[in-house]
């Protein structure tokens, strides 16, 4: 263990192994049987529960030289695995994430922050999770996929393509089920905004083809003057112009 890298107020449980290059900031609590290795940096007031492994080498990077940056106020529950990155940026966890029992975060994944990931959520390598995302049990997020902000994934869903923000997605492969009203309400969105988003979702995802037409998107943008709608449409345009738009075809 490297005591130089640990702030004074860090508490470390028994049988925990902390590698030489690890740096841990104030008030972080690390329980027993935790392994933290590699070039891992951990912020303030994080909590690590027994059995989690952070900064372990990945299949792409067996030497384990990559970085792993964990910001403040993250709770990492039992048996979570977070791999070290292989790229320059490394694996990044933003602030206020809760990773429940048995979650897996692959190398170079980016969790922007404020997410709650239920048990056994697998976030594969290079995936990007935007803010305030909630996942249910056994969700699998494929490599290089972006999950939109305020999104919700139901149990056993497989996220094989980018998802738009504010959406509830379900199934394997997933379909878009509607607006994540409950989460938006909890995050302090006004009723009016939620209703607007709901109308837009109806317009876009309720027709028979389920494929957003770029003309249709432009029309919607003119009708609804709302920053959240604009954000949704920007994301949808990106998905629609991507080479593989299977996601929005499925009905």
């Amino acid at each position: 263990m490297n005591p130089d890298g640990l702030a004074d107020s860090v508490s470390v449980g028994p049988f925990t192994y902390i590698g030489e290059e690890v740096i841990i900031d104030d008030n972080t609590i690390i329980d027993s049987n935790v392994t933290i290795i590699g070039k891992t940096r951990i912020g303030k007031s994080c909590r690590f529960l027994p059995g989690c492994i952070v900064g372990c080498p990945s299949a792409d990077n067996p030497d384990g030289e990559g970085k792993c940056i964990i910001a403040d106020n993250n709770t990492i529950r039992e048996h979570v695995i977070i791999e070290a990155g292989s790229d320059e940026a490394g694996t990044i966890l933003g602030e206020n994430n809760l990773l429940m029992v048995g979650c897996y975060v692959g190398h170079d994944a980016e969790l922007t922050g404020d997410g709650i990931f239920a048990n056994f959520t697998r976030i594969n390598h290079h995936a990007r999770i935007e803010k305030f995302v909630r996942t249910s049990g056994f969700t699998t997020i494929d490599p290089y996929v972006t999950v939109g902000a305020y999104g919700f994934t139901t149990g056993y869903s497989r996220i094989d393509h980018d998802t738009p923000p504010y959406a509830i997605v379900q199934g394997s492969p997933f379909r878009i089920r509607g607006v994540n009203r409950e989460n938006l309400k909890r995050c302090g969105f006004s009723r009016q905004t939620i209703d607007t988003l709901k109308k837009v979702f109806r317009l876009i995802f309720n027709d028979s083809t389920n494929l957003p037409d770029l003309d249709q998107l432009a029309e919607i943008e003119q009708t609804f003057d709302d920053e959240h709608v604009a954000r949704l449409l920007t994301s949808l345009r990106k998905i629609a112009t991507s080479p593989d738009k299977k996601v929005l075809l499925s009905k």
Binding site: D31, N33, L49, G51, R77, H79, L98, N119, S136
Partner: protein, 291 residues
């Protein structure tokens, strides 16, 4: 012969002389472990956890950690494990929450396999089988003899009935009636799970008399074989003369679930102390309450 003595046990822990604790175990201050229990290596037992006799707790399990419920305020809550349970490797079980009744309970002679998760305020009765990676959300009741196969995920406030079976990789979002198999059928693999029929092994295991057994098979067949309204069929069964006790419990379970929100009878206990917790109220009352 004890070889390894590398373990961290708080002096306040109450461990019976006849219990065996393996190496690299961390056992917190408010834990009590009764005679005959074997705790293998790298096990962490924290929180207010009471473990009965003759349990086996396998490698890497974490029992009694604080719940994953964000509404939990940090008050003393309990995890109570009965006798003769097998708790597999990397199993996690959490203590209860204040709003859910302070108690998580695992009964007697349960088999909880590897990496299963028992969340806050769950009540597991006796003789159940939880396969590897079974995921129980909070406030769930699993009744005696139920079988949950691999990777079953159960929604909050669900009840899994007596001697029922949930097939592998099923998302359970409503109550599973006793003596039935619940799962996704061959014709509809992606749709929400349905009741597939009677659980023969469960009914055999339940030690029923032959006439009860036959009545039960008939009732399950009648209630769940077609899509017509269940309430009418149950009324018809209950109005017959000489309905056996076990069929009556099945019908009552179904009626309760039907009247519950989203088909879950325990939704009524949201934010309330459930009846199962009353048995343990003396533990909660003993705690020094903050003024």
């Amino acid at each position: 012969m004890e070889i390894s003595v590398i373990r961290e046990i708080d002096p306040r822990v109450h461990i019976s002389d006849k219990a065996r604790i393996g190496p690299y175990c961390t056992i917190g201050p408010d834990v009590s472990i009764d005679a005959g229990t074997i705790v293998k290596d790298r096990v962490t037992i924290v929180g207010r956890t009471i473990i009965g006799k003759n349990n086996v707790i396998e490698h890497g399990s974490v029992l009694g950690a604080f719940p994953q419920d964000l509404k939990y305020q940090g008050k003393p809550t309990y995890l109570i494990i009965g006798d003769g349970n097998y708790i597999g490797p990397n199993v996690t079980a959490h203590v209860g929450t204040e709003l859910g009744g302070y108690i998580t309970r695992i009964g007697n002679n349960n088999f909880i396999d590897a990496a299963a998760h028992v969340a806050h305020d769950c009540y597991i009765d006796n003789n159940t089988y939880l396969a590897p990676a079974v995921l129980l959300a909070g406030h769930i009741r699993i009744e005696t003899g139920a079988v949950l196969e691999e990777m079953v995920g159960v929604h909050h406030f669900t009840t899994i009935g007596r001697f029922s079976k949930v097939s592998a990789r099923t998302a359970v979002t409503r109550d599973v009636p006793p003596f039935t198999i619940f799962g996704t059928g061959k014709e509809n693999p992606t749709l929400p799970a349905v009741i597939l029929g009677a659980h023969h092994e469960g009914i055999e295991k339940a030690n029923l008399q032959k006439q009860d057994r036959d009545a039960l098979y008939k009732a399950v067949e009648e209630i769940f074989s077609d899509g017509s309204p269940i309430r009418i069929k149950i009324d018809r069964i209950l109005n017959q003369r000489g309905v056996s006790e076990v069929v009556k419990t099945l019908c009552e379970f179904c009626l309760k679930s039907l009247s519950g929100k989203y088909g879950r009878q325990r939704e009524a206990f949201r934010g309330k102390i459930p009846p199962e917790a009353r048995e343990y109220l003396h533990l909660i009352e003993k705690e020094p309450h903050e003024q």
